[in-house]
Subunit: 394 residues, 2 copies
């Protein structure tokens, strides 16, 4: 396997830290060539730059860049270039010395960088799903126009489907089953969704992730976005993409073929295994030796159907996906605002889907032919969500 020379977007986040752990474990297989982080966690960022000494470093603002520069040791600051601002993310994605771009940003932020990476012919690893949800058509177009480009998911469910579909004819798929841990509330029969506090929703039963995605897991919006992501990646029709609650989070997803045979991918709950697959595909290596399923300790795997009336976000995501156009971009943006408002305890848990649904209902959808149209939708939906909050929810 050729060495993967990595541009890492979102270096201090959960995906970033786990990617860096992989690089640390396999310095002969992976290297960090460039990275970006907003700079909100400056100490962690300084430590990363000192340890890995990437050639290009991007941060959110001139002042963050200045803070970072001042904190670095002399030997390191002389070797690296620091750039800043949202546009600098694209420079990291396009960095000529990298052949692999890992998108570990939160929410919609990664879209332009994703398109840049694909247009530069890079292996582009989607650890944040929103770009695929907002602009699946543009991403597929960029992929098709660049023969060198490789698109690989780094969501455990889609890496599972990716593996199940190896060597298979996509036309013979009868159903994709995306599994969901269900988050902390799927089986709470008598819980009042109005009373749920952020701390409860952030208490995910199996995966350790960032705040936004953890709340999305509790509402099942994360699974809804993954349904759209699966459509974008594999072009399997929505009526063949099913969600199953699987509390053990060991079966990461399944593919049922038209002849009744089902392939499932299982593995330990470790995001590093998912990132490693995306980095190494089509090869595999063993540099996380302790990470094997222990069958002696497993004796139960359960599957349940989600309640779409209780978890309205999942229903909304199917609706947006099926109606396509700019509805999916609208969904992503409205959800980001709604989750943020919930985390700030400004709206109730039960109001997250209400707010999103209202924004979707108000949206005049169009074909998402250009990045500009998607960006405008994104901006519009955020503004509408905030307006609705201010006028109806305060």
């Amino acid at each position: 396997m050729p060495k993967r020379k990595i541009s890492l977007l979102g270096a201090t986040g959960s995906i970033g830290q786990q990617t860096l752990d992989l690089i640390r474990k396999s310095p002969n297989t992976y290297s960090l060539e460039a990275c970006a982080a907003a700079g909100n966690n400056l100490d962690a960022f300084i430590q990363i730059v000192e340890e890995f000494q990437p050639k290009l470093v991007s941060t959110a603002s001139a002042s963050k860049a200045d803070d970072l520069y001042k904190s670095l040791s002399l030997s390191v600051k002389n070797k690296i270039q620091i750039i800043h601002g949202e546009a600098s993310l694209k420079e990291v994605a396009a960095f000529p010395l990298s052949d692999t771009v890992i998108l570990g940003l939160v929410g919609a932020l990664g879209l332009e960088s994703a398109l840049t990476a694909l247009n530069c012919g890079k292996r582009t690893i989607f650890a944040n799903k929103e770009p695929l949800v907002m602009a699946g058509n543009l991403i597929r177009e960029a992929l098709n126009n660049n023969k060198e480009a490789v698109l690989i998911p780094a969501d455990s469910e889609h890496v599972a489907v990716h593996q199940c579909l190896q060597g298979q004819n996509f036309d013979k798929v009868n159903n994709l089953y995306l599994t969901a841990s269900g988050g902390p509330f799927w089986n709470e029969k008598n819980l009042d969704f109005n009373s749920i506090k952020p701390a409860q929703a952030l208490n995910h039963p199996t995966w350790k992730m960032g705040h936004k995605i953890t709340i999305d897991s509790a509402t099942l919006m994360n699974k809804g976005l993954e349904v759209i992501e699966a459509y974008s990646l594999f072009e399997i029709p929505y009526d063949k993409i099913q969600v199953l609650i699987h509390p053990q989070s060991l079966v990461h997803s399944m593919v049922e073929f038209i002849d009744g045979h089902v392939l499932a991918q299982l593995g330990p709950n470790d995001m590093r295994l998912v990132l490693q697959y995306a980095l190494d595909y089509p090869s595999r290596q063993n540099n996380l030796t302790d990470k094997f399923l222990n069958w002696k300790e497993i004796n139960k795997l359960e599957f349940f159907e989600p309640d779409l009336e209780k978890f309205k976000c999942l229903k909304l995501a199917y609706w947006a996906g099926k109606h396509a156009q700019t509805y999916t971009a609208c969904l992503v943006a409205a959800d980001e605002i709604a989750v943020e408002l919930f985390l700030q305890e400004k709206i109730k848990f039960s109001q997250i889907p209400d707010l999103i649904e209202e924004v979707l209902n108000m949206h005049s959808a169009q074909e998402p032919k250009t990045l500009e149209i998607i960006q405008k939708t994104d901006q519009w939906a955020r503004e509408q969500a905030m307006n609705l909050y201010k006028t109806k929810y305060i």
Copy 2:
């Protein structure tokens, strides 16, 4: 998918009947060109020949051939050729109008036909595993020497592994997990193995199969033979082939890769699905529409390690596989005699492994370079097993 023109060996057995059911359901996809049956169930054989009118029909003896001929309607008997004797099996396997051979014979009988089918460049479907166990090296050699030939398993476990390995590099396999229902006795803590009667051992919890394989399932010898079969098919070392008891029989087998990712194949317990996969590969079709797993009804999948001290047949099979040479042929032959003696209530259930072990201990193994060497081993082991029975077990 081109139409599969089938030679079916073992037409009246369990595999045969299920193959015929598939042909009946998809007459545009499959046709029966030739078939063989011993003729012990003459009524069933007559019915098959009348219904499918294969061009070539083989049966065990001249008298069976005569009985069959006399019982057929005039219009049918004028269209078909009836041949007899063990050597006639090879003619069915080599029949020029067939492109696909299904080996549905019991035990060692199919070996010569298997080699003939591969040497004639046919798609050769191994629904009986013994040839692969006895002479994996000769079968691989025949496959490698005939570019047109295709070898496909039709054991649910190996069809599972076959699917999990599609598009994968075999060098990256960490473990194959062959699942076993465990048969009726794996979890009987206080059962005296000396007291088990054939009727109890024939009461398999999940699969409906022939008598020999059902007893082999109860002793776990069937799983042991499958371990050797897996080695023959995929050339994965024995220390990477594991057996797991899985009472629900829904996960048909699994492959763990070196990076910790596991692929599993699941499906309803229907041997026709397995045969259909073997017939259609690399295509798939849906002609058994009612056969899908219903996830709403499944909520438990359990896995346990087998007790090798209690199920000595499995231990013996690993031993024979690892020691290779003619030990695997010896194992198959001794097991056939032991199971037959048990079915006739001449030896106890607990004596099946004892008898086999004694034959293995007495065997002077050699390289299985030729069919003759394997056939001689087969004959020797049968005689030794009978001698041992007569001298020590009566």
